[in-house]
Amino acid sequence: MEIRPILASLRRHRIPAILIVLEIALACAVLCNAVFMIGQRVVDIHRSNAIDEAGIGVITVDGSDPKMASSDIPRNLARLHGIAGVQAVAVSNTVPLSNNNWGWAFGTSPDTTFDAAVNVSAYFLGEGGDKALGLHLLQGRFFNADEYADSKRGSMPLVDTHVIIVTQSLAERMWPGQSALGKVLYSKPLAYTVVGVVADVLRPFVNSQKAWYSTFFPLSPDSALSYYVVRSAPQDRDRVVREAQQALSELDPIAVVKGRSYIDIREKYFANMSSMAWMLVLVCVVMLAVTAFGIVGLTSFWVQQRRRQIGIRRAVGATRGHILSYFRTENFLLSTAGVLIGVMLAFGINLYLMQHYEMNRLPWYYLPGSAAALWLLGQLAVLGPALRAAAVPPVVATRSV
């Protein structure tokens, strides 16, 4: 296909051509960034969490008498064990994505300064916590019964044991390329030896790349342990949660008892993010539709204006295929110009967003990706008007209008 006559004709219709290019460029710029944001959110929402999410129910018991914790907790656990279908029960100070974060900072040497240490989230588990949560052990071991029984907290922020289990991501961050087993995490004056490494568990409050910096400590019954984790088969879960909530509120009438399935906790945590993602999808779809209709409108007008020229071309021997490919090539050229400008705009916007918001760099493959999408959109939009142009009979050339 010869493109010189197309360029010549475009030069004579500069304004409509510029408008199409501009519209495609803007659509491309917004689309690139919106799709990128959707992608980031989808990744965030689907972050892995190596606990038995489908089988866990969580019952929180708040506002009970803190002095009674050492007798209340074993009593409550025994009651929960009695519920039909319960496979494992344990207490914990919080659960992943609960928004109730117990943060601390650790370093890998005894003299790590407070500000240089790595921020992590601490999970204090009562006996059987690994089974109730369904943690996946990768190296080492879980805590033994003595470690659970000997660990006390009092009113200190951390427990007085000397063992810790860390997630794979945290182990990799602290000791890159080495085995974490037997290594020590320090926070003056405390020190904890790593006895196990588990698959990544999310923190109670997730931000950026450090979503899996979780640590686990054993703890004997303590007032900090107000989350009862109840594990059952997924089909029993909702009934077990209901019965467990009922049982615990009967046992402790002054406490506020609330039961939820873990699936609910996770869904609620990401609800805002997922509604934002759906809104972005909606905007993208509507925007593409508007752009496509804009192209259809301008091209149809264009075709109508050039009926005579098309008739003449047909009269002097151009086939329908020639006319069709003329308009498609024209649109291809315009889309290309639009995409080129649009991609530059997209990267510009991305740079601005990176400075002002929590946003990563746009990966390079968005360039060919969005180019292909808009080329396709342009070709689809131009098809109707181009077919109509191809249908113009040669005899039009002989008429005056």
């Binding site: 501009l22 917004v30 506002g63 934002m276 204006q305």
Partner: protein, 433 residues
């Protein structure tokens, strides 16, 4: 003449219904998206106390150690330790001053058989209500003497009063908060400033309902109520937060002039120096921000909301470009009509006006449709899980803004086509016909 243009515009719009509908729908979508996101943005970035915000200031000092400190770069801590908050409170260097922490308050039911429940609590000092213009329905707040004597009193919100006492005056009644009996001395009228400026950094929500119970700080602490958020710079016994190396309080002062603000800033700076001399502090940085500045520092408006507004404007821009193209297509198609009008004596200015009127009509129609889309958009937001969801309503300002945006964008879109139309030479168009 204007009526004639309107008539011409209507005829022209009716002649090509699909194209007209396309323009109006696209413009309406763009405007609807813009107004929806702007309404939310305006709601979230609003001034919670317009009559007073310029006189309220958030004070910061820094009790942290030299670990990680870079002189001139490290910003002072966003919360205060108890000792500093009490020193500043008792110094009385401002007209009013309050220390605040949030807490989960367990409220016992009044009737047997009901379950206790948690509600949002505020542990604070006497000036809170006068300083933040919190209006009372019944009774009033407590005094500075009550603060010191740990008086067993509490102020409750209108909604808690409705829930527990059916809306009748409950002043003098006793409620059980965190297993301690407290006497109600005041009931607030509806009070929920948006954003909840005083909860920033304290671990509460930024928007949504007001708090339910307000207690004297020391009374609440004596009843074992813990702050929702605390941050410690060393391993510490967190049951004794008053003396622990921890920050957990927000500190506000009321100052009536710039001169007073400058004087208070100097006072804070002197205080920090004095504490350094005493060996308690290492870092001399202090800060004093007025309410709106503090909200900006805190980035209280969620990023997502600002991104959405930006996206909506990008979308509107695309819709406007689209309208330019379609209007241009329409007007060039009518070059013969224009030629005839020009030949019959219409001036360029008149042709221009005629096309601008047509564009304006598209704008008004787009605005009406945009309004419908915006109402729908806000309805969707009200049904979202976001904490500000329930507050999203179109007010009269945004209603008027809708039409302003619609008219401006359609007239901008009409400029180029109208100018092109008015430039057409009458002769050649007539000849072609």
């Amino acid at each position: 003449m204007f009526a004639y243009y309107l008539d011409l515009a209507l005829r022209s719009l009716r002649r090509n219904k699909v194209l007209t509908a396309l323009m109006i729908v696209a413009l309406g979508l763009g405007i609807g998206a813009c107004i929806t996101t702007l309404t939310v943005l305006r709601l979230l970035s609003g001034d919670p106390l317009p009559q007073k915000s310029a006189r309220l200031f958030y004070a910061q000092v820094d009790p942290y150690t030299k670990d990680g400190y870079v002189a001139g770069k490290t910003k002072p801590q966003r919360l205060m330790a108890y000792a500093d908050a009490m020193n500043l409170l008792h110094a009385h260097q401002a007209e009013r001053q309050v220390a605040i922490a949030l807490t989960n308050a367990k409220v016992a039911p009044l009737r047997a058989g009901e379950h206790p429940f948690f509600s949002d609590g505020v542990m604070t000092t006497a000036d809170f209500f006068t300083m933040f213009d919190a209006p009372f329905q019944y009774g009033g707040g407590w005094s500075a003497a009550d603060d010191e004597s740990r008086a067993q009193v509490v102020v409750i919100s209108d909604f808690l009063n409705d829930q527990l006492f059916g809306g009748a005056s409950s002043v003098g009644r006793i409620i059980r908060v965190n297993d301690h009996d407290l006497r109600i001395i005041g009931v607030l009228k509806h009070w929920a400033p948006q954003p909840r400026f005083y909860t920033q950094e304290l671990g509460g929500r930024s928007y949504g309902d007001g708090d339910a119970v307000f207690l004297p700080l020391q009374t609440a602490r004596a009843a074992n109520m813990d702050p929702t958020n605390d941050d410690c710079w060393a391993v510490a016994d967190t049951s004794k937060l008053e003396t622990a190396p921890c920050i957990w309080l927000g500190f506000w002062v009321e100052l009536s002039s710039d001169a007073e603000a400058a004087a208070y800033r100097q006072f804070l700076s002197n205080y920090a120096q004095q504490q350094i001399a005493l060996g308690r502090f290492y870092r001399p940085e202090v800060a004093l921000s007025d309410l709106m500045q503090w909200l900006r520092n805190e980035k209280v408006v969620p990023d997502d909301v600002r991104l959405q507004a930006g996206l909506a404007f990008g979308f509107l821009l695309i819709c406007v470009v689209n309208t330019v193209g379609l209007l241009l297509a329409k007007c060039l198609r009518r070059s013969q009509e224009i030629g005839v009008r020009r030949a019959l004596g219409a001036m360029r200015r008149e042709i221009f006006t005629q096309f601008m009127v047509e564009a304006g009509m598209v704008g008004v129609a787009g605005g009406l449709l945009g309004l419908a889309f915006a109402e729908f958009g806000l309805w969707c937001i009200r049904h979202q899980p976001a904490e500000y969801g329930g507050l999203a309503h179109l007010d009269i300002h945004m209603f008027l803004l809708t039409f302003l945006v619609a008219l401006v964008s359609s007239l901008v879109a009409g400029l180029l086509p109208a100018w092109r139309a008015s430039r057409l030479a009458p002769g050649s168009q007539l000849k072609a016909a």
